[in-house]
C-alpha cells in the first residue's frame, strides 16, 4: 500500500517537474499581458502612478519571457510597455525584434518609435523647429495610435507656444490651421479623448467658449490619460462657464445654465465651480 502511494507521489512530482517550465513560460507572457492591460485600465481612470507601476511589471514579465522563449508576441508586449514608459530606443529595438519573429507591423512601428524618440531628444536639446517637423510627419503618416497621440501632444505644445507670440490676424489664422489639423485627427479617431481636450484648448485660444466647453465635456466623458490633464480639463470647464456668464444674453445663459447644472450633477461636483477633487 505504502509503495503504491509512494509511486503515485513520485509520478505526480515528476509530472509537476515536467510541466512546471511549461506553466512558467505561459505565465510570464500571460502576466505581461495582464499587467499591460491593467496599465491601460489605470490610465483610463487617471491613476497615473498605478499605470506606470503596471507597465513596469508588464515590462519585467515580458523581458523574462523574451529571454526564455523569444517570440513576436513577447517582443510586441515588451515594446508596448516600453513605449508607455517613454523608453523610445528600447521600444524601437523590441518592435524590430518582433518583426524578425514574424510580426508584420513591427518594422513600421520600430521606425516610427525611432523618429518619435529622435524628435523628443531634439526638442529637449532646444531644436524645436526640427522636432516640430518630425512630429508633424508622424501625425500625417503614423497609423500607430500611441505614437500619433504623443506626436500630436508635442506638436501642439510647440505650435501653441509659437502662436502665443503672434498677434491679430496672423494669430487667428494659425490657430484655425491648428484646429483643422486636430479636427482631422479626431475625425479619424473619434474615441480619443485627448484630441477633444486639445480642441477645447484651441477653441479657448480663439475665444469660442461654447465650443471649448463642449469639447472639454466630451473629453471628460471619454476619460483623459493623466490626472493633471483631467484636472486641467475640469478647470477649463469652469473657466468656460465664467466666460459664458459674461458673454451670453440672459435667455441663452439660462438655457446654458440648465445644461451645465445637469453635467455638474452627473459628475458629483460640490457646486458649479468646484470639481469633486478640489
Amino acid at each position: 500500500m505504502n509503495s503504491f502511494r509512494m509511486k503515485r507521489i513520485r509520478s505526480c512530482l515528476l509530472l509537476f517537474l515536467c510541466l512546471f517550465p511549461l506553466f512558467s513560460c505561459v505565465s510570464h507572457l500571460e502576466e505581461a499581458k495582464f499587467y499591460y492591460s491593467k496599465g491601460q485600465d489605470f490610465s483610463r481612470i487617471y491613476e497615473y502612478e498605478k499605470a506606470v507601476a503596471s507597465f513596469r511589471s508588464a515590462l519585467n514579465e515580458a523581458t523574462i519571457e523574451a529571454k526564455r522563449h523569444p517570440s513576436s508576441q513577447a517582443f510586441m508586449v515588451k515594446g508596448m510597455a516600453e513605449l508607455n514608459l517613454q523608453m523610445w530606443e528600447e521600444a524601437r529595438k523590441s518592435f524590430a525584434k518582433a518583426f524578425s519573429y514574424g510580426f508584420e507591423k513591427g518594422e513600421e512601428w520600430a521606425e516610427q518609435v525611432s523618429i518619435l524618440g529622435l524628435a523628443v531628444s531634439l526638442q529637449e536639446s532646444g531644436l524645436e523647429d526640427s522636432a516640430s517637423r518630425m512630429y508633424s510627419y508622424l501625425i500625417d503618416r503614423s497609423k500607430f495610435r500611441p505614437v500619433c497621440v504623443l506626436a500630436a501632444e508635442k506638436y501642439i505644445d510647440i505650435t501653441l507656444i509659437g502662436i502665443l507670440n503672434m498677434k491679430g490676424e496672423e494669430k487667428q489664422k494659425e490657430l484655425f490651421r491648428l484646429l483643422r489639423r486636430v479636427e482631422k485627427l479626431s475625425s479619424k479617431d473619434l474615441s480619443c479623448s485627448y484630441y477633444h481636450y486639445l480642441q477645447s484648448q484651441i477653441y479657448s485660444h480663439l475665444g469660442d467658449y461654447r465650443k471649448s466647453f463642449e469639447e472639454a465635456v466630451m473629453a471628460r466623458e471619454l476619460g483623459l490619460p493623466k490626472e493633471e490633464i483631467f484636472r486641467d480639463n475640469d478647470l477649463q470647464i469652469v473657466f468656460c462657464y465664467d466666460k459664458l456668464r459674461e458673454k451670453l444674453t440672459s435667455e441663452k445663459w439660462q438655457r446654458f445654465q440648465s445644461i451645465y447644472r445637469e453635467w455638474v450633477k452627473r459628475w458629483g461636483w460640490k457646486d458649479h465651480e468646484t470639481p469633486d477633487w478640489k
Binding site: Y48, E49, K50, V52, A53, E153, K154, I156, D157, L160, I161, L164, Q201, S204, H205, G207, K226, E228, I229, R231, D232, L235, Q236, F239, D242, K243, W277, K278
Partner: protein, 195 residues
Amino acid sequence: MKRKEIEKAIDGGFRILSEVFPLKSNLYFPLIYSTLVWALEKQEEWEEKIFSWEIWPDPGFVRTKPDAFILNFFGNNKSLALNFKEEVKEKDLKTLRKSFECLYPILGLKDPFLSCLFFEELKSEDYKKIVDNFEKRLYQAKRQLKTLKARPDLILRLKNFAFNASSLGLNILSQSKVQSAVVGLVKKAMKEKDE
C-alpha cells in the same frame, strides 16, 4: 488619538529622513506629510506616488494656456488678485504667465507635494515668494529625492513608518489638522537638532 502617539510617529519619520537629508531640508515636511496622507488612504503605490512627483509639477500644457485663462486665474482668487494687483490691472501677461507656471500646479491643479513644499508661503498667502523661490526649491527637492531613491533601505523604513502611522488611527483627524500637526512637530524636531 493622543498627541504623544502622533509625536512619536512623526519623530520616527523625521529620524529616518535625517539620515539622508541635510539639516533644514525642505523635503522633511512634504515627505512626511504625503507619506502619512497616502498611508491613511491605504495607497499601496506610495513609493510610485512619491517618485512620480519628479515629473508631475511640470506638465507642458501649463505653458500654453490662453491669456484669458491666466487673467481669469489671477482675477478669480481674492488673495492672488491682491498679490498681483498691479500686474492684473496692467494686464502684464509676461509677468503673469511666468507666475502662472509656478502657481497653477499648486493652486489650480492642487499638487499635494508642491503644496507642502511651499506650505509657509501658502499659509501667509505670499504668492510672489513662491514664484521667486520656485525653481531653486524645486531643483533642490528633485536632487534630494534622487538621493532617497538611491537608498532602498530607507525607503523600506519609511514604508514601515507609513504602515505604523496608518495603524495609529490618524485618519480620525482631518487632512489639514494632520498637516498642522506635522509642520509643528517637524519644526520642533529641527529646532532640537539645531541646538
